[in-house]
């Protein structure tokens, strides 16, 4: 499984990754709009550099979760995880419900709010390039090797090696190793990266598991409710028939 490791201590904030991404996918200039979020990601910026106090720079992009909430949420399979693990988007399937945007724990997918034919837009890990054995545009151009591409287990090992080699510098945590089941975009940093989520700390449980139990109950609920109703109807119908014969006290109040 491929992955990206971003070491925020090496980032100089030059935004070459942003420009490379825009060039590769021919994305327009991004004008600040009413609907843009403050993190710089838009339908035309699939990665962005967030500037933190003291000249710290953090690159934001899709995490390509191992068990992605967006893929599980999409009702028409427009979002899929391909064999390399990239979460890719098929615009010909999408119907524009934006459930993926709601479901993503990192709030990554963006929307073409100003277009008549709008699509969901986000980083796709340069899927067609990595399947050819090439690199994503962002890691290819990074001048300081702050963001690198490779096999996920190797990058996790590298991340731990760097933290171990320089324990005073890094926070002892590899972001993306375990959160919501782990992701293929990993971070090591000297600052806390919790601002990349909605504020609450993410647990390790994959998000699709949360709906799975409810979804498994669906056939049982359907058959159960159906037979319950059929049964009740039959019993009450029979009792009413019997009463008509036996002239009992009027029934009905207790059934309300």
């Amino acid at each position: 499984m491929k992955a990206i490791l971003t070491d925020t201590t090496k980032c100089i904030g030059c935004r070459e990754c942003v420009i490379a991404c825009k060039t590769r996918y021919k994305l327009d200039n991004s004008i600040p709009r009413r609907w843009s979020a403050e993190d710089g990601l838009t339908a035309r910026n699939w990665t962005s550099i967030i500037e933190r106090p003291d000249s710290k720079y953090v690159r934001k992009q899709c995490r390509h979760c191992i068990e992605p909430a967006c893929v599980s949420a999409c009702p028409v399979n427009a979002l899929q995880k391909n064999k390399d693990g990239a979460v890719v988007y098929d615009s010909s399937k999408c119907m524009g419900c934006r459930y993926c945007m709601m479901a993503c724990p990192y709030g990554i997918p963006r929307y073409d709010w100003d277009r008549q034919v709008p699509y969901v837009r986000k980083c796709i890990l340069c899927a067609e390039y990595i399947s050819d054995g090439k690199q994503p545009a962002c890691t290819e151009v990074c001048p300081t090797e702050a963001t690198i591409f490779g096999e996920r287990d190797e990058l996790i090992a590298e991340a731990h090696r760097r933290i171990k080699a320089n324990p005073g510098k890094y926070i002892n945590r590899v972001w993306g190793e375990h959160e919501v089941g782990g992701s293929q975009v990993l971070y090591i940093s000297d600052i806390d990266l919790s601002f990349l989520t909605y504020g609450q700390p993410l647990g390790d449980k994959p998000l699709p598991d949360r709906t799975a139990s409810a979804m498994h109950a669906v056939p049982y609920a359907f058959v159960g409710m159906g037979s319950l109703m059929a049964g009740i109807g039959w019993v009450i119908g029979r009792r009413m028939k019997n009463e008509e014969g036996g002239k009992d006290k009027p029934e009905g109040e207790e059934n309300e």
Binding site: K10, I12, S72, M95, M102, Y111, W113, A212, G233
Partner: protein, 617 residues
């Protein structure tokens, strides 16, 4: 029948307004008519039209269960309107969804691309199937009128029980699955609302809402058509509903206790207040009122309960649907007027179809007379002697058409007020200059400004009484003149030249006259050319000739301007490092540690200086 006609006229006008907004929605995209954003991708149209619409239409399955399963035949007279309300409710949901979906023409994709993990997929399918069931359940009613349909009608009547059971089972699924939709967002939905049993609470509240909606619909149409209101039946429904609400209340609070979230209830955040407000009008007020017999027996009392209950559960759906999502609303989402208009127009359309059906088919035991069936048509002049016979009454249809057209025109007029294609570009708020002897001018508050030395300006414009050259230039409402009155080029589009840096005492330390000639209006044309000072700007062996230094913006100026040429030049000069950031930004960032640098060095690297805020007099 004026009441009905006026009501219909209002409905037609709302639809007219909606037609104008709908045009804008499909011409300019969602961003043009909604306040949705990348942070708040779901708004009123999902929270109300879809989430609440489905719940509001739950009267259909609740009443069919009551009558056909529990065999409480006395409710038979309100089953038909309940099924019709449900049918139209679901159609309204579908229509509302077409507005909200970005690609509505792909809505059928749900039928062929199956994702069994997605609750939305399940909701979609259940709604489609239940809509079919409702059509089949309701079809016998209009079929009564046409003899040739009697065979189909007879067949459907025989199928009624299986249809009713299928309808109930499907409703159970999708009413609860609307709750399952939010199970995947544990980190966004506020803990007072997020719960693994959301499917259950959604289902129970849908039953309560179904009962309340039947009550409301029955009382309202009774008032509209001056029909006798079925208060005795509704009283019994109310009696059942109080237990549903009580159960809902118990489950909501019990769930909070089990999840150990009761601590949240005492907080002072607005979400906590919202939670209490919602719970009070969803459950507490209706339950208490319904336990009072006098309330249950009066139409006004029942109406109050119905309206509170319906509002409460709708509020609950809107809350869960996006309003109380943590951190989504740093910028609070409030629906745009255009969003509200579309919502109302969809409801108005459904209401009109309801009235149309009720007037033509036997939806109620006693069919109301169609007020439009026999418009009074009188000739204005007698056909024989041509004497004046008085004004004929305007046919209701003409009134409706006129209302529709006028409302649509008003809608277009209101919409054209804003440039739709550019909507969403925020104007940058300008900030007044701060300071006394030295003004700090940083209009867009980006921390990047100009220092304006009063004394120097005063001196250079001739001292003495030259204050008036800037202050009191006899312009309307003028207090002091803007810089651009003298510096006429400062708002010219995008200039690569960093004027503020050149003139700032911490940067170029240049006095104005060092570049601009004295006695001439200060503008680009009259200033020194760049290469008059920067001899090394264009190397002698340069293959390119720089004529102007225009770029997209001040901030991008240097980077874009230089990097483009550097990239181009890298190949012929065989110097791959030419366009790299690191060519200028020497070394990696972890070598330059800001805390270790001495203060001189920091001043050089630190680009931004901000003066402390000074209070205005």
């Amino acid at each position: 029948m004026n009441r009905v006609r006026n009501f219909k006229l209002i409905l037609w006008m709302i639809i007219g307004l909606g037609a104008a907004v709908a045009t804008a929605r499909f011409m300019f995209g969602l961003g043009a008519v909604t306040n949705l954003s990348d942070r708040v991708p779901w708004g009123l149209w999902i929270g109300f039209d879809v989430m609440s619409g489905v719940a509001l239409a739950s009267g259909g399955f609740v009443l069919t269960a009551t009558v056909y399963i529990f065999k409480l035949d006395r409710f038979h007279s309100i089953v038909r309107p309940a099924i019709l309300t449900a049918l139209l409710g679901y159609i309204a949901v579908a229509v509302g969804l077409l507005f909200d979906l970005g690609l509505p023409w792909n809505i059928w994709h749900m039928m062929i691309y199956w994702n069994l993990h997605s609750p939305l997929f399940e909701v979609g399918w259940c709604v489609m199937l239940y809509l079919t069931v409702l059509l089949l359940e309701f079809f016998p009613v209009p079929a009564e009128k046409y003899g040739f349909l009697s065979k189909i009608r007879g067949f459907l009547t025989k199928l009624r029980l299986p249809l009713v059971i299928a309808g109930i089972a499907l409703s159970t699924l999708h009413q609860s699955s609307l709750g399952s939709l939010f199970l995947i967002m544990p980190y966004n939905v506020h803990p007072l609302w997020y719960s693994p049993i959301m499917p259950v609470t959604f289902f129970i509240s849908a039953i309560g809402l179904g009962l309340m909606m039947v009550t409301f619909e029955s009382l309202f149409t009774g008032w509209l058509y001056r029909r006798e209101q079925e208060v005795d039946l509704l009283e019994r429904l109310g009696a059942a509903a109080r237990w549903v609400f009580l159960l809902y209340l118990a489950i909501r609070l019990g769930d909070l206790a089990v999840r150990d979230q009761l601590g949240h209830l005492s907080g002072g955040e607005w979400q906590v207040k919202m939670f209490w407000f919602e719970l009070v009008i969803v459950a507490i007020i209706p339950t208490v009122l319904l336990f009072i017999r006098a309330v249950r027996r009066s139409a006004a009392g029942l109406m109050t309960v119905a309206i509170t209950g319906v509002t409460g559960i709708v509020l609950n759906r809107i809350n869960v649907g996006g309003l109380v999502h943590i951190n989504r609303g740093e910028t609070l989402y409030l629906p745009a007027w255009t969003e509200i208009v579309i919502t109302l127009a969809v409801i108005a359309g459904a209401a009109l179809v309801f009235l149309f059906m009720a007037e033509r088919f036997k939806v109620w035991e006693i069919q109301p007379v169609d007020p439009d069936a026999d418009p009074i048509k009188m000739p204005e002049f007698h056909p024989v002697d041509s004497s004046w016979l008085g004004k004929p009454e305007i046919v209701a249809r003409t009134k409706y058409s006129l209302g529709f057209i006028i409302a649509a025109a008003v809608g277009f007029a209101l919409l054209s007020g804003e440039p739709l294609e550019s909507r969403g570009v925020d104007p940058v708020p300008a900030q007044q200059a701060r300071g006394g002897d030295t003004l700090w001018i940083d209009g867009n508050l980006d921390g990047y400004g100009v220092e304006f030395l009063h004394v120097r300006h005063w001196y250079r414009s001739g001292s003495g009484e030259s204050c008036v050259e800037c202050h009191h230039m006899n312009l309307p409402l003028d207090r002091n003149s803007g810089c651009y009155h003298c510096h006429s080029d400062m708002y010219l589009p995008a200039d690569a030249f960093r004027h503020d840096w050149h003139s700032s005492p911490t940067g170029g330390k240049l006095a104005c006259h060092e570049c601009h000639q004295k006695g001439v209006v200060r503008a680009v044309e009259s200033a020194k050319k760049c290469d008059e000072c920067h001899n090394d700007l264009i190397p002698s062996e340069a293959s390119i000739e720089v004529e102007q230094y225009m770029a997209v913006s001040y901030a991008d100026a240097m980077h874009h301007l230089c990097i483009d040429c550097h990239t181009k030049e890298a190949v012929p000069r065989e110097n791959p490092d030419l366009p790299r950031c690191t060519t200028c930004h020497k070394g990696q960032r972890d070598i330059i540690d800001a805390t270790v640098l001495d203060s001189d060095r920091r001043n050089l690297t630190g680009k931004r200086t901000l003066l402390p805020p000074i209070h205005q007099e």
